[in-house]
């Protein structure tokens, strides 16, 4: 589905995205505090990140290198010298009442991201989204408003957790090149994949390590840009698509009713599926940007950039192309890339697994199980060698698909300590392929079900399924289904 169905003929949607990426450095942007997510409030804080008088920031070298790496991955131009600026505004979770950010000299400019969407004809269309800039800044603390609404207004009192304050952030600002919700979603997914591939962040929206705001407007095709609104609280790729779609239609309805769109920030309400006014930007906030006198220029001479460029990994588009070249379906290749499963895939193939089988297991059962347990692939302990062994056990008939799933679950449950073969042996999962044993069970089942046997003999072939089921039950699922079928047919038809 594309935009034709979204707006009336002659109207066009215009979207630009601002994405914040929390870097996964060990320490914060300006101090040595830990960046670990989920610790007790205000335990990862010091005089610097709580803005104590006299404390000074020192830029995190690793964060700058990560920013350059992501900038290169997005085909951007790295500024040889750039500055940090102060963005001044009062807010309780901003410890210094200014945010150290970048203003007229961002670290990266002129990047791009090419995304793939499904076209009207069902084929793949590639669209280029320009990236205006990528700059470094710091995250704020988190306010917790105690009281009825859970929001600032109407709260009895507020608590602030500064653990997040000062965590390095990259803001990636796209040009308003996006014309439909699907491209917006594809852009966010692709950016997530690039971030994961470079290793600078795990880009988990649910933990807020990647956050997206959308600038949305509508216009008559060919006319000047319309007034935009900024949509916040987009907690998933799905929310982004829904919110953009809703907002485009809302704006067009307002305009067609003779109203005007106001420049405002709107909050996406996921449960009700609507955007609501958060605050009206009556006048543009004057942030009084000026160069931060506490920090020196960041110098990125070509030599340094080249050295960082050598760390650039294979980027998602190239990885997907390589995988489809190996026969992996496009959707599965995308799933592997999005879940950072390609290294395990490559390892499995190197260890002898068939590419399609390895991809199928990874994109299906593995990803599903990890999602259910909220586990990362790295934390699961599953290796490519495990996967290769699993496919081999299926191929040689030791495990059925059903048993293989159980073996896989066992490997993950052991966090990789047990191999699939070890799990199968431990739990007695090997298929019963001892013909003598199986023959005895088949004979018993045939003898115990004369009516069914008669029906099969009279041509109701499907009824054999019931007998297979009984054999399976008697063997606790460990009978080789193919063999069972074969023995049953011989026993019934002679």
């Amino acid at each position: 589905m594309t935009s034709q169905a979204l707006l009336d003929d002659g109207w066009e949607l215009v979207v630009g995205l601002e994405v914040h990426v929390e870097l996964q450095t060990n320490t914060k942007m300006w101090c040595g505090c830990s960046t670990v997510f989920g610790d007790e409030p205000n335990t990862n804080v010091c005089e610097v990140c709580t803005g104590q008088p006299g404390a000074l920031p020192v830029a995190n070298e690793q964060a700058v290198r990560d920013a350059i790496l992501l900038g290169l991955a997005l085909q951007g131009r790295i500024a040889e010298r750039c500055r940090f600026h102060r963005k001044n505004y009062f807010y309780p979770d901003l410890a210094k009442n200014y945010q150290i950010s970048q203003y007229d000299t961002p670290l990266v400019t002129d990047g791009e991201l090419v995304v793939e969407v499904t076209g009207d004809d069902g084929g793949v269309e590639r669209r280029r989204v320009g990236i205006e800039r990528l700059h470094m800044e710091e995250d704020t603390g988190k306010s917790l408003h105690v009281g009825d609404t859970g929001r600032l207004h109407g709260a009895d009192r507020s608590l602030i957790d500064y653990n997040r304050c000062g965590i390095p952030l990259l803001e990636v600002v796209s040009h308003p090149d996006i014309r439909d919700p699907e491209t917006a979603q594809a852009y966010l997914r692709e950016l997530q994949a690039v971030v994961v591939a470079t290793g600078v962040s795990d880009a988990r929206m649910e933990e807020g390590s990647i956050r997206c705001d959308a600038n949305v407007s509508v216009r008559r095709v060919g006319e000047e840009l319309g007034t935009r609104t900024e949509i916040k609280n987009l907690n998933s790729v799905r929310s982004l698509g829904r919110a953009v779609r809703y907002e485009a239609q809302r704006q067009l309805a307002v305009i067609q009713d003779g109203g005007v769109i106001r420049m405002e920030t709107r909050h996406w309400d996921e449960s009700r599926g609507v955007t609501e006014v958060l605050r009206v930007k009556e006048s543009v906030t004057d942030y009084r940007y000026f160069p931060d006198p506490d920090l020196v220029e960041v110098l990125s001479p070509p030599q340094r950039v080249e050295e960082i460029a050598r760390r650039l990994p294979e980027l998602p588009a190239a990885t997907r192309a390589r995988l489809t070249g190996l026969g992996v379906p496009r959707e599965q290749a995308a799933v592997l890339v999005a879940n950072a499963a390609v290294p395990v895939f490559d390892e499995a193939v190197a260890a002898g697994a068939e590419a399609t089988a390895a991809a199928n297991w990874l994109a299906g059962d593995v990803v599903g199980q990890l999602a259910a347990e909220d586990l990362s692939l790295a934390a699961s302990g599953l290796t490519g060698a495990h996967l290769a062994e699993l496919t081999r056990l299926i191929d040689d008939g030791t495990l059925s698909n059903t048993l293989a799933k159980e073996a896989l679950a066992g490997v993950i449950a052991s966090r990789g300590a047990s191999s699939p073969a070890a799990v199968a042996a431990e739990r007695g999962l090997e298929q019963v392929s001892d013909v003598g044993e199986l023959q005895r069970i088949v004979d018993d089942v045939v003898a115990a079900n004369p009516d069914t046997v008669a029906a099969i003999r009279s041509g109701n072939d499907k009824a054999i399924g019931a007998l297979v089921g009984q054999v399976m039950k008697a063997t606790k699922g460990q009978a080789d289904p193919r063999k069972t079928n074969e023995l049953l047919r011989t026993a019934i038809h002679g």
Binding site: G54, L56, D294
Partner: protein, 519 residues
């Protein structure tokens, strides 16, 4: 025993090393004088200054708090280690006073403001740590203009400090408490901070040596920021040698301050006595004429004659953009201050005035916590950074700053050091300039050029001048040197000091009485 509180730090260091006195004896002598003279409640572990209304007109009010128990304990510890033969730094056991703008872990740091009353910093400033590591014994925290904004120490929320030479006059500012402490023999050494002249002008007003090091050579970590690109801590002392020795303790690279210079620093004392024979010294035309009081001008001329007599070549030098330094300074410093002081919002530390919402609480806290001068500068700075005005004010001032730095570089191509008066007048009367901010700002006219350029500058007492009321007050001469030329600055200052033979003892009808008090 001769009077301990009249000895220089160098003398004390020798006497401590030889075992003639103990650090505890020196500290006790100073504490006794502070208790008798300064207007503190000398009771308990930390002696607070008396409330402003309870202070007498003959009390200098140099200290906001005296850390008596900690000072005695530290002195005992140094004495014990010395007795045990442990290696100690050259100034170990010598007392020092610290401006109340440098953080001291667990010891109140107010910046002279109600805003920070009761705040106990969770960490030590790098300078505080350096003093402790060198075993200088901190006597207490000294009074200052609120957040270092002022030239008289009258904007302190805790009452003004008085000039030990004339208790009806100001000691200068913003480091007036540190200056008064050293001048009134309430400490042999003190640390101040200088943004636009806040060490040099009080040194000039109180007959002391006060130096602003090259920007970036003393760590700003833990120095509560007024104007980050200008702030620099430095020494007050009664002699050039003492100043150079204290300066040596606090200089050095600090990885916690990004603007800290990571380069070898010159030895400040090695060539102190080498003299100025053969040096070329420039007199800055723009700072030596109009607006300088006759008495100050006369002292400057005498000083130049003495330097010439020592073999220096005195030349006339122009800093074409010097006239723009003061307006540029009074845009850049308030701009940075407006942002630096935003963190005082009642949320995390210091005073809070409760209100219905966070915004109202912020506003009420800042309304109650800041004094008039701080509010004035926050408003000037906020305006100068506002969109639509930024280019005309902040940006233009930054360009002027670049031009002034270039002026200095050109001048130093020709001369080894530059000379000017430190302040246009001798110390003025308490209250004289309080209602006239511009007159107050004009005090900084000769000191801000070096601040904007980041170069080292020192004020050396060069004589006395008529105070207009029958008394005589000290006059300081400023010596400026190229970036990282702090050693040259001290060498010229020492030559002038030796040729001047200035007696730093306050004297006059309204001078504070000096001399060890009987206990």
């Amino acid at each position: 025993m001769s009077d301990l509180t009249n000895r220089t730090a160098a003398e004390l260091a020798d006497d401590l090393a030889s075992g003639e006195v103990t650090s505890r004896e020196v500290v006790d002598a100073y504490l006794a004088r502070i208790a008798a003279v300064d207007g503190v409640d000398a009771d308990g572990d930390v002696w607070p200054a008396k409330p402003a209304a309870a202070l007498r007109s003959d009390e200098p009010h140099a200290y906001l708090a005296v850390t008596a128990a900690a000072a005695r304990a530290h002195a005992d510890d140094v004495d014990a280690r010395r007795a045990a033969g442990a290696p100690l730094g050259p100034l170990a056991g010598v007392p020092v006073a610290v401006k109340d703008i440098l953080t001291t872990r667990g010891v109140a740091t107010t910046c002279g403001s109600r805003m920070l009353e009761g705040w106990l910093p969770p960490y030590d400033a790098t300078v505080t740590r350096q003093l402790a590591a060198a075993d200088l014994v901190v006597l207490g925290k000294t009074n200052m203009d609120e957040f270092a904004m002022g030239s008289s120490t009258e904007s302190s929320a805790f009452g003004p400090t008085r000039n030990p030479w004339d208790l009806d006059r100001v000691p200068g500012g913003s480091s007036g408490g540190s200056a008064a402490a050293v001048a009134a023999r309430l400490a042999p050494l003190a640390i101040g901070t200088d943004t636009g002249g806040s060490i040099r002008q009080p040194a000039a007003f109180t007959g002391l040596v006060g130096a602003k090091p090259t920007y970036g050579t003393v760590s700003r970590y833990g120095l509560v920021a007024f104007a980050s690109s200008l702030d620099q801590a430095g020494p007050f002392a009664r002699t050039v040698e003492d100043a150079a020795r204290l300066h040596t303790v606090i200089a050095g690279h600090d990885p916690r301050d990004s603007t800290s210079v990571d380069a070898p620093l010159p030895d400040l004392t090695a060539r102190l006595e080498d003299g100025v024979d053969g040096m070329r010294l420039g007199v800055i035309r723009e700072l030596a004429g109009d607006g300088v009081d006759a008495g100050v001008g006369a002292v400057l001329r005498e000083a130049l004659e003495r330097l010439a007599g020592l073999g220096a070549e005195i030349v006339d030098v122009s800093l074409p953009h010097a006239g723009y330094a003061l307006p540029a300074y009074y845009l850049i410093a308030p701009s940075e201050a407006s942002s630096n002081l935003a963190r005082f919002d009642g949320v995390r530390y210091g005073n809070r005035v409760d209100a219905a919402s966070a915004e109202e609480m912020n506003a009420a806290t800042r309304e109650a916590g800041f004094g008039a001068e701080v509010k004035r500068r926050i408003m000037i700075g906020t305006h100068a950074l506002s969109s639509g005005y930024y280019d005309a004010y902040y940006l233009q001032a930054s360009k002027v700053r670049t031009l002034i730095a270039a002026d200095f570089r050109t001048a130093f191509d020709d001369v080894d050091a530059l000379i000017s008066p430190t302040a246009p007048s001798v110390a003025f009367r308490l209250g004289e300039n309080v209602d006239d901010p511009l007159a107050m700002y004009l005090n900084d006219v000769a000191t801000v050029p070096a601040s904007l350029a980041g170069i080292p500058a020192i004020s050396v007492p060069a004589g006395v001048a008529d105070d207009g009321a029958g008394g005589r007050l000290p006059v300081g001469v400023q010596v400026m040197a190229p970036l990282l030329g702090d050693d040259v600055m001290y060498r010229v200052a020492r030559a002038l000091e030796a040729a001047t033979a200035f007696d730093p003892t306050p004297r006059g009808a309204r001078a504070v009485a000096v001399g060890e008090v009987t206990r």
